[in-house]
């Protein structure tokens, strides 16, 4: 049932995205308009939180709220990214967000709290749910042999499926696309994780994020990270896009 609801929501979101994409598809001068303001904010917030640049993060959070992100959506970005850069960065990001919200409250700004996550009503085991979510993400059956790391340390694969892809991904405050934008932003920011960056950029493409949107993501992240890291991330993206081209 939960699966059905999720699918329903996904369809609604997709339809909605479809509409906004369509609306945004072309501007007056015929250039393609890609990432919208909310997406850009999600990327900037994720990247700055992962980097630990809390001062710049403050203004990114303000911009995100002004762009229409709800308080819960931004909180969810912070929650999601701990899986990729750790609790400490996540907690510092959340504290920074509290500060920003308090300041805005004092100024009389009313921020939208937004929807809470739909409760889970799914009888499958967490592992099964996580595997199914991951299969939806990569649009493929995961019946092959476990990856080398999973054979080496089986528990990490269990944690990935049960926790990251069930506990976290089942929270429908953010959709899969938004979550993957967060993930790619964090990975590009922390650097040195090219194989994962490659996989998640590929998931982005599978989930309907366009190559141009990914290039724009690089530009947003590029403002916050050093040249070497962003060059490396762009190289991964170029190799991925090259492999898709025939």
């Amino acid at each position: 049932m939960k699966q059905l609801i999720t699918i329903g929501i996904a369809i609604v979101i997709t339809a909605f995205l479809g509409v906004t994409n369509h609306v945004n598809a072309q501007s007056k001068d015929n250039t393609i308009v890609n990432l919208d303001a909310k997406q850009q904010s999600i990327i900037a917030i994720a990247s700055l939180t992962a980097k630990g640049d809390l001062q710049t993060l403050e203004s990114a959070l303000t911009e995100g709220l002004d762009a229409g992100l709800t308080v819960r959506e931004i909180k969810e970005v912070m929650v999601h990214l701990y899986a990729y850069c750790g609790f400490p960065r996540s907690l510092r990001g959340l504290r920074t967000f509290i500060k920003v919200l308090d300041k805005r409250k004092a100024e009389g700004v009313e921020d939208q709290l937004g929807a809470e996550a739909t409760p889970i009503e799914d009888n499958r085991t967490k592992y099964e749910r996580g595997k199914a979510n991951l299969e939806t993400l990569v649009q493929a059956k995961l019946d092959g042999p476990p990856a080398d790391y999973a054979q080496f340390a089986p528990i990490i694969e269990v944690f990935l499926k049960e926790h990251l892809f069930a506990d976290i991904f089942d929270r429908d405050i953010l959709d899969y696309r938004q979550r993957e934008l967060v993930t790619v932003s964090v990975l590009a920011t922390i650097g040195g994780v090219e194989p994962m960056l490659h996989s998640h950029m590929n998931i982005c493409l599978i989930q309907g994020i366009t190559p141009i949107q990914l290039k724009e993501l690089m530009d947003v992240v590029g403002k916050n990270v050093d040249q070497e890291k962003i060059d490396s991330a762009k190289k991964v993206l170029n190799e991925l896009l090259e492999s898709k081209k025939q």
């Binding site: 649009q139 059956k141 994962m196 996989s199 590929n202 998931i203 090259e242």
Partner: protein, 352 residues
């Protein structure tokens, strides 16, 4: 070639062959369009290799992706060539395209055929053709940079039928694709489009007789053709065969490529069927064929029988004939894109 299915007994006639300038032009002997002419750093490279398989010397080409780095891990794909074909023709074209998409690929001449060793020449027995595919897997699994857990198979035409057979029991292959699959066994038994059902026993007797002659030290008897004159070509009424002869003897000719096979091979071929035990295939399966291919019936027969494949897909290339899927860019591109999607989905190593 008076009419299709005429059973020809011929000694190794050397029918006048077209000048084969194409293969001489390319330093690697490749005769497909857009073939690599030199190994450039940072681009797809080709490496001719030789290895032993059951005592027979196998000639193969390995293609490595751009910026190949032996310390990295790449998925790999074996490519089995068509009947009468060799690694320098369409199998090489697909091997090169898949290498461009990031795969390490290998395509080998069948034992007893092409540049591979083995006597008598042009023996074409299904068990050997199947073994050739396993031999490619043996070799490429040991190749620097190959991720053994991400091995895929592609078989074209007859090679497609043998690939279906190989992966039934060879679980090193994690994803299986065929292009214009040709189930040689049932075609040799029943004739193309079931045109020779009335002569099955007769042809088996001829094959047995040929074997008897070989056993007695006599001349090797051959079936098939080793070239065709323009007059004969004009008379070939079956499109599949006519386009095949044009491909193999004119546009993509190569001295090692021939339609000859030992008549005694029919003893094995006619009692063999690629779809026997096809329910053993539990790997993901993609079957690609041209919508206008006269051989489509062979793919349509096999596909539903693969009942245990984890995920299977039939992809028809609109308007393509069998032979056109070997070379025509618009069709080749469709096939390659489909293959790359398929292998990416099923041989991907998702690092999370």
């Amino acid at each position: 070639m008076k009419y299709l299915g005429l059973f020809i007994l011929m000694s190794m006639l050397s029918i006048h062959k077209t000048i084969r300038a194409q293969s001489e032009k390319n330093p690697f002997g490749l005769v497909y369009e857009g073939a690599i002419t030199e190994n450039v750093d940072g681009k797809v490279n080709i490496l001719p290799v030789r290895y032993k398989l059951n005592g027979i010397d196998i000639a193969a080409n390995v293609y490595t992706p751009a910026n190949y780095d032996r310390t990295k891990k790449y998925p790999a794909i074996t490519i089995a060539h068509p009947n009468g074909g060799i690694k320098e023709q369409t199998a090489g074209l697909y091997a090169q395209h898949l290498a461009e998409a990031g795969y390490i690929t290998i395509t080998a001449d069948a034992a007893y055929q092409g540049a591979s060793g083995g006597q008598p020449r042009h023996m074409d027995k299904p068990q050997f053709r199947t073994e050739d595919i396993r031999g490619m897997a043996d070799f490429i699994s040991q190749y620097p940079g190959v991720d053994r857990e991400r091995l895929g198979a592609l078989g074209i035409c007859g090679g497609g039928g043998y690939t279906l057979k190989a992966v039934q029991s060879d679980k090193r292959f994690k994803a299986v694709a065929t292009l214009s699959m040709f189930n040689t066994g049932i075609v040799r038994k029943n004739g193309f489009l079931n045109s020779q059902i009335s002569t099955i026993q007769e042809r088996l007797k001829q094959a047995s007789k040929a074997r008897e002659q070989e056993a007695g030290g006599g001349e090797i008897v051959y079936s098939g053709v080793d070239g065709i004159t323009d007059e004969e070509l004009a008379k070939v009424s079956t499109l599949f065969y006519r386009q095949g002869y044009e491909y193999y003897f004119r546009t993509h000719a190569h001295p090692n490529s021939t339609f000859l096979y030992t008549t005694s091979s029919l003893m094995d071929l006619m009692a063999w069927n690629a779809t026997d035990d096809i329910d053993l295939i539990d790997q993901p399966l993609l079957m690609i064929a041209g919508s206008n291919a006269q051989t489509l019936y062979l793919t349509l027969d096999a596909f539903p029988k693969a009942t245990n494949s984890k995920s299977k897909e039939l992809f028809l290339i609109e308007g393509a004939t069998h032979i056109e899927t070997y070379w025509k860019p618009e069709y080749v591109n469709q096939a390659v894109n489909k293959l790359v999607d398929f292998y990416q989905n099923h041989l991907s190593n998702t690092d999370l």
